[in-house]
Symmetry: C2
Subunit: 315 residues, 2 copies
Amino acid sequence: MQQLNHKIVRLAVMMTIASLGCGSYDAYAASEAKKPQVKANQALSMAELIKQSKAQDWRALDPENTLVMELEKGQVVIELAPHFAPQSIANIKALVHENYFDGLAMIRSHDNYVAQWGDADEKRAIKNARDKLPAEFSVHADKADVFTRLPDADGYAPQVGHVNGFAVGRDPKTQQTWLTHCYGAVGVARGNEIDSGNGTSLYAIIGHAPRHLDRNVTVVGRVMQGIALLSSLPRGTGAMGFYEKAEERGAIKSVRLASDMPEAERPRLEVVRTESLLFKDIVAAQRNRGGEWYKHAANYIELCNVPIPVRAREP
Amino acid sequence: MQQLNHKIVRLAVMMTIASLGCGSYDAYAASEAKKPQVKANQALSMAELIKQSKAQDWRALDPENTLVMELEKGQVVIELAPHFAPQSIANIKALVHENYFDGLAMIRSHDNYVAQWGDADEKRAIKNARDKLPAEFSVHADKADVFTRLPDADGYAPQVGHVNGFAVGRDPKTQQTWLTHCYGAVGVARGNEIDSGNGTSLYAIIGHAPRHLDRNVTVVGRVMQGIALLSSLPRGTGAMGFYEKAEERGAIKSVRLASDMPEAERPRLEVVRTESLLFKDIVAAQRNRGGEWYKHAANYIELCNVPIPVRAREP
């Protein structure tokens, strides 16, 4: 049994980080029609590609569009995607500027679904932010940034890919483009009325991507750091994972826009440019992971399994 | 703001349980080639279908293939799928019979990936179980049970569907069939060698389905109850989510086979028969969720978003 932990660790290493070499592939040739023919000829793993990357392969998070939520156990950093939801994001910023979220709480932890925060007591008044705004489920491609298409087929959208660090769906017929509900996506809770979400309650995806929510809710960004603080919350025991008692709800100390924080206190993060060659290589490396551990090549990568690496910036 | 909690609750209700009616659909007709043409003409939600179901739509878990893991905070119930991994499952049962897991611990919690358990100290000896056994990544369809194909296309497998309550992939050319890494799937940790997993360390999927693991690890079953006890564990701070200190590891009080427990103490659960008409209706209801909340019909359901309902049996 001496070997077990080594086995476990090696398993973990290989399951997580693809490494050199390509192993013995046994790819099947089925469903050619829907599957891109991508050759698994890359020699470097994602970790190695990142190690070799250049400064221009990364962009710093935009402080004007970065939310910093302080919880009791740490910091959650969310990057907003204003091209996709300009009005909702303007309203979230207005709420943040009036310290709307400070002292509120995590109100829901629904297993394999969402963590949600807001005002459980329904008492907090909005000052200058808007109470009602239109849904922003998708935008015309003209309004979005550079679209880097993922060649792999998707069941929920005619096309999928990435825009400026966010996973998106796209309809080439209508040119509509939308943010998708991959792990870590942040959206605006709403009621039955399409315009009933105003940003006072937000949620993050903490389970298998519920892509059926795409184009049904306004997605505003994604968690770039600290998602584990949300995903490992004790699950709520009320209906749909809502917490039933006040003491179960983890407090939100504050939510700030990074640009409003002193520069030294801002999170210093950068994200891989999804329009870069580095990103293309990362996708290829993850589509067919090499190394000694993998015995069967997937020859496919599903949108929400594509990593969009984030790291600390050099000081 | 009086409305907010109502909004939140309504959001939650609608996001979770599809309800009567079909709303205003705006389905796009793209990618016909890869997408089954399923009409969203069912009127009942999943919850209503379950309410109206008959006893014969459900089967009780087989006590001979049900593991009961007692953690400090509660019980995790795992159903094993012996058709798919007979040798691994026989070995896990042998380990359970020699009380191998009692007093061991959760050793890893890797965000958006796996929770893993076993012997962190590598000290526990195996008595009668085997130390080494062959990989069981897939089986010939003859060995599996009735395959109910999901009409929706999949990127990781030529065909997908369900066998006796488990989500599977299938290759019609080779007739090989395999258990997939959907949320809650339980597998046998292994090292680089294909035959290095013996069941002494197991993992459960607690994040977005890492389907690239399919046919790379022996999957033995799935968590039928208590997955939240595994998914909400504090994340390990070591490499790959391993816990670094003994006190971080939640203890396993015991792992028992249900058939070895007094009948009154066994979990009394039943699962929807995936070969039933009820299941077909549930899949249809979830593919295009009705009700007043949904504004856009997905017209697609991805394998790991298909619910396989489990409930307590009537006493």
